[in-house]
Assembly symmetry: C2
Homo-oligomer: 769 residues x 2
């Protein structure tokens, strides 16, 4: 066979053109479909796996297969577990089996893309589970996250997967939303830096070809899904264009600039235009203005949802394709694109452009040369797993955030010889994982109780009672727990929520939880009006606090729950988000002072749902408070205590042309520690109404007791750009303050340095936003 498209040395564009020219309309349509649930493609047999009639039918229907979703997905929804699914040892073989079939069914030998969920590690049996995005946001550590992302990509590829679906673009603006855990936080700058790290880590440097241990990323979701009304999943977003550009688009833009291979169009609409049918968003902005050349995938069944306004799924498919969607997920609409083209609902040019994008990605992955992954296993699975555990624990450790610490009750002093470890999270790892996780093998992971037992000094007596369940108001276990607290020197209460799907969970057609299992308080489809923990947990906290034994509360959660009591009733309060399987180790290390608490809040913590929204980067309006409550959050964005203290000097302009700002930071305490130096701007003269503060740079700094270091930040486009009247981001003339502090709240009181951008300003060393 001498076809050009088969020549690995030919330019990819030439191969795409050549192949496209040989394809029938039906074959092209097949490339844009990703209709099957991957777990329906195979069946476990005593000797391995066999392919199903469902797969045969699907590959026959389109003379091949464009993409297959979730071949390795395992969870309560797919019903895949260790008895039925593919683990680290045999999934590459399963993938190979499916791929051989697909290639064989395709007249032109076109392999399939295997698309997998990798939201915080590959959501497959034996995949390393990392802390959820909100915990990643709390690390403020893009470098560490980049390593974890690289690891997840290597695992994915070693298992035969290709394309990684990763939440990164949703900005957490309403904690009632059950998917808050999938966000890097409320801030566009922090999310942008972490999205870049994700793309760099998974894909490596931008380039034509992907290395064998790198995976193209589908950044989801585009756009505005973090600000749907009432925090309701996939509801409408009423946002204006400027709000969208200032808050919800920067992470996408950063990801695109880092070379992201694909983005996923979100379920929601923005101001009347559903993302999957929004040409202004997908074409005019993403492709034309931003120059994005990658793939646009629709969210699951999002194309068919367009039938609500088009009348039927055929025209829904045509609308989505015309708007800029290339690849559909589970929809009926895209299976009828042949008819849509024939009826003139969409042009064949649009179709060809979409097919070309799918094919281009397959060529970039080298799938025509090496359609199967088996030959790529560079690292032994056990080594990979050990590396994964280390990285996951490191992220969990870096995410532990100390919110208050009265009288320095933490780290646990050596005088505390009796520690009561209480609460529904204390002795289980079941709820540490977050949504979108595969079943774990028994014995995987460590609870806080495990961690404390392992790491506490010899002679320390550790007792435990659960006290109550995560949800509900059954307080029958409280007295036992209180008795233990009463008898102890210190009580550690591990409270919080859960996104753990169970066999009792009911699911919507797209896998979102619908009827929740008894203990779900978070996750996709699990929106929470009141932000409250189960009421029994408050009773446990109240009862434990009256013993007089100092109480340390650790909140394991996927969103900032409203626990205003925690500030009053506890000696110390930590949030660890969903820290992953080995969270118990990480938390115990911090509690005992083996590690410093270095996490910082990536979201503002509200006092109650009634005061929402509370994000720090609101517009700067004269506003006081509600009559019945403060309008300020309980804890500010960026907040997080250390076991030592730091002093920040006043910032000063520096550099030859005054285009950098520097600040002296001193460790004023008696322990080594790390501070996250945060640079905020506050615009004074500006053509549009400014936010009170905008995070525009940050850097972590390790300091020995008494040590002072100078931190220098550039003042470039990343720091200064704003969204102008034309909705383009640019450095516009104006005046602003630069404030450097340990949190957004502290920045309000910090001494600013004034910076003036004049007409002729050019950012000297700007990295593009």
């Amino acid at each position: 066979m001498n076809a050009l498209y088969r020549n690995p040395t030919a330019p990819i564009e030439a191969r795409v053109r050549d192949l496209l020219g040989r394809m029938t309309l039906r074959e092209k349509v097949g490339q844009l479909n990703q209709r099957m649930y991957g777990w329906d493609a195979y069946r476990r047999t005593p000797s391995g796996f066999e392919l199903t009639e469902a797969l045969y039918a699907e590959t026959e229907r389109f003379a091949g297969l464009g993409a297959l979703y979730g071949l390795l997905r395992a969870d309560a929804w797919s019903g895949v577990d260790h008895a039925t699914g593919a683990g680290a040892a045999d999934s590459a073989a399963l993938a190979e089996m499916v791929q051989r079939h697909v290639v064989g069914e395709s007249r032109l030998g076109i392999p399939a893309l295997f698309v997998e969920e990798v939201p915080h590690g590959h959501m497959a049996l034996d995949g390393t589970v990392f802390p959820v995005n909100l915990a990643v946001g709390a690390t403020w550590d893009p470098e560490l996250y980049e390593q974890a992302a690289a690891h997840a990509a290597a695992e994915l590829r070693a298992r035969g997967g290709h394309l990684a679906l990763v939440s990164a673009l949703d900005i957490a603006r309403d904690p009632r939303w059950g998917r808050t855990e999938e966000c890097f936080g409320e801030d566009p700058y922090l999310a942008s830096r972490l999205t870049e790290a994700l793309v760099r880590g998974m894909q490596g440097n931008p380039g034509d070809l992907f290395a064998p241990d790198k995976a193209p990323v589908v950044l989801k979701h585009f756009a505005g899904q973090g600000a749907t009304i009432g925090g309701r999943n996939s509801a409408e977003s009423e946002l204006g264009s400027r709000e969208l550009h200032e808050i919800h688009l920067p992470a996408a833009r950063a990801g695109v600039r880092a070379g992201a291979a694909a983005v996923m169009a979100a379920y929601n609409e923005v101001d009347g235009m559903p993302c999957s049918g929004n040409r202004a968003l997908l074409h005019d902005l993403l492709r034309r203005r931003w120059g994005f050349e990658g793939l646009v995938m629709a969210d699951g069944l999002a194309v068919d949802r367009l039938a609500r306004i088009t009348g039927d799924t055929i025209s829904a498919g045509a609308l989505a394709l015309s708007a800029g969607v290339d690849l559909s997920l589970w929809d009926e609409g895209f299976t009828h694109l042949e008819e849509a083209v024939e009826r003139g609902l969409v042009s064949e040019e649009s179709l060809n452009a979409a097919v070309a994008r799918v094919l281009r990605l397959k060529f970039r992955l080298g799938l025509f040369e090496r359609p199967c992954a088996a030959d790529r296993l560079a690292t032994a699975p056990t080594t990979l797993a050990a590396l994964g555990r280390d990285l996951s624990t490191a992220l969990a450790r870096a995410a532990v955030t100390l919110l208050h610490n009265d009288g320095g009750v933490l780290p646990i002093p050596s005088t505390a010889t009796r520690i009561a470890v209480l609460g529904p999270h204390a002795a289980t790892t079941a709820h540490q994982l977050g949504d979108y996780t595969a079943p774990q093998r028994p014995g995987t992971g460590t609870s806080v109780l495990d961690g404390l037992r392992r790491l506490a000094p010899p002679g320390v007596e550790i007792t435990h009672a659960r006290g109550c369940a995560l949800t509900g108001d059954d307080t029958s276990g409280v007295p036992e727990a209180v008795a233990l607290a009463d008898a102890a020197d210190l009580a550690v209460l591990v409270l919080g929520g859960s996104s753990a799907r169970t066999p009792e969970t009911g699911f919507a057609a797209n896998g979102a939880a619908q009827q929740t299992g008894s203990e779900m308080t978070c996750g996709e489809g699990v929106d929470l009006a009141g932000l409250r923990l189960g009421e029994a947990q408050y009773e446990l906290l109240r009862a434990a606090s009256v013993t007089g034994t100092p109480a340390v509360v650790v909140l394991v959660q996927g969103r900032p729950h409203a626990v205003p009591e925690a500030a009053d009733l506890t000696a110390a309060l930590l949030t660890v988000w969903y820290p992953g399987p080995w969270g118990g180790d990480a938390i115990a290390e911090v509690l005992l002072g083996h590690a410093e608490p270095v996490g910082r809040l990536p979201v503002s913590v509200p006092r109650s749902a009634a005061q929402l929204p509370v994000y720090y980067n609101h517009k700067d309006t004269e506003y006081g408070a509600y009559v019945d409550d403060s309008a300020e959050p309980l804890y500010s964005f960026g907040h997080g205590l250390s076991y030592t203290t730091f002093a920040y000097g006043p910032p000063r302009l520096s550099g030859l042309s005054g285009h950098t700002v520097e600040v002296d930071v001193t460790n004023t305490g008696e322990r080594r520690g790390r501070t996250v130096v945060q640079l905020y701007i506050r615009r004074l003269l500006t053509p549009v109404w400014p936010r009170t503060l905008e995070l525009r740079a940050f850097r972590s700094l390790d300091l020995a007791p008494g040590e002072c270091r100078t931190v220098t930040f550039p003042l470039g486009a990343d720091q200064l750009a704003q969204v102008g009247a034309d909705l383009e981001s640019a450095v516009l003339p104006g005046t602003l303050e630069v404030r450097i502090a340990e949190s957004a709240r502290a920045a309000l009181d910090a001494v600013p340095v004034l910076f003036r951008v004049d007409q002729n300003f050019t950012a000297p060393d700007a990295t593009p936003l």
Copy 2:
């Protein structure tokens, strides 16, 4: 003097041009200023009034005076009361005194505009207080409101006032906002019809000249102020353009089409652009696209607030004038327009255009011919007052909304011979009035206790105890009240909130409440996160309900407070909003069955703040509920029970070309009653994502028991138009359902009739939206 501008028979435009040509820059600037608080212009003396040095200084500064705000305003902020201010008998003389001074100080003899607050009646001593806008919204009765508006205008003009400031444009999208009471409700269609009624009533038919008993209206606020984040007063609104056009602009457009003389630019910004500095809003949309030729006034100190982004008040004034503001209120910025013109910050053409608009209004009012109002008193003050009371009571009666009525406990049966009237609202009119009301003369108005005592049949024993205060958790009075409830056949609990400003209230520079008096739970500056009544009121309700005596709860309130208990613990529940001074009569009439309950909810009533927003006309997305709460309101928009019942037949298309829809409505109960027939549309095929329902017509219908009538609605532009891609409102091709029902909730279950708009559709009898 033969100057053209003095010739009353010359065309107004010619007079304006002539006068403008004679004015100095300083005189022009004076016309755009409205800097003084009117109550600082005079002082009461033993024999009448004397003018102040403050007025002399102000008129000297600008060689005249453009406008004077609040000469007759009386309230806790102004400090004006019956001892110091002007009442019905002497305010015309005061106005004349001031006007003579102004005209005398003006080289060209230009009189001042007297601008007064008339939000629900003239906010002056002896001014008739009408129910607040939210109560007006509950009447669904534009005709009745038009009469009230006409009355208020007549009172204003009889007292020497000219221009009426009236809230009409704010749409109540977040009940946490303290100014919710100033909104006609959550719906743009209902607000549009009431805004038209307001303009018609106050101004009369559009025309060049205003009749002596008509007053030009300043419609406030423009735009989007009802959707600021968190319901926080004058905070930012993040709304997109479509949301703005669909929800927040229709009332303004309706008011402009009805001929409104002026609009007030709002405090808030929309998506980054402050309304007072927003040329796209004030010029491109309002003046150019809508053809508005009237005056744009800025809200109090809103121009100076622009200094936040311009750096100083001079450039803030220049920005506001360039954007389209003509007349400022209290600002420093507009006093420096002379310098701004000289420095080139704004053109003299812009200035001239603004001055021309001010002068035009003065000519239209006939102020050059009759600068003083004294000669216009056509109706005797006592007659006017009696008419006002009748109209105010009629509005209050029409606003009484029956939310539930278990077992028909209402109307109060003749078997109930002992009635306990309880609660903090029961025996006082102090909190029935709402914000923006002048002090009342002792003895004005009727409480619910007054009304029931007057109207109950002879022999009925009526007892009363307050039980508790409006706010706080002091329940010491509850036992006494419960004892009365226990001894009674029926307990009427009059609960609720208050916008009553007291001498203890603290005020911001613009008159918004800042430190609230002890009992304020609503009003400008009084935003409420939790939507809760004072906790003692819940205790009173709970305690009264356990007596077993049927409890009827009447909620007197300026926003929908969250009282989920009211549905469970009461036999009947009514909301009467702030019904005005004679609300007690109106409420008693309905309780006793002398009048029917005909009010319908103009806002959805939430279960709690945690589930906000709950407006009925949200986008149609697949959304279930929160895990911990319903996403549905406790009571739906449009809901309101009668003492009888109605059956609605299926709607059918009718008319020659099928451009009307009709429905048969039958009174299926045993009393005469009134139903508000509500027509909702639900779009199926549409270019933009539709709302679940949109109210597009309504009509009240009185029916005798057993009577059936056919109601016919046109299907014209008012019913069919939508905001297209170009943000213009137009009838676009598509398909929609028409549903006719008693509430938005009922419309979801109603049988629809399908209506198709094809390419060639022309609305046959459309009144423009």
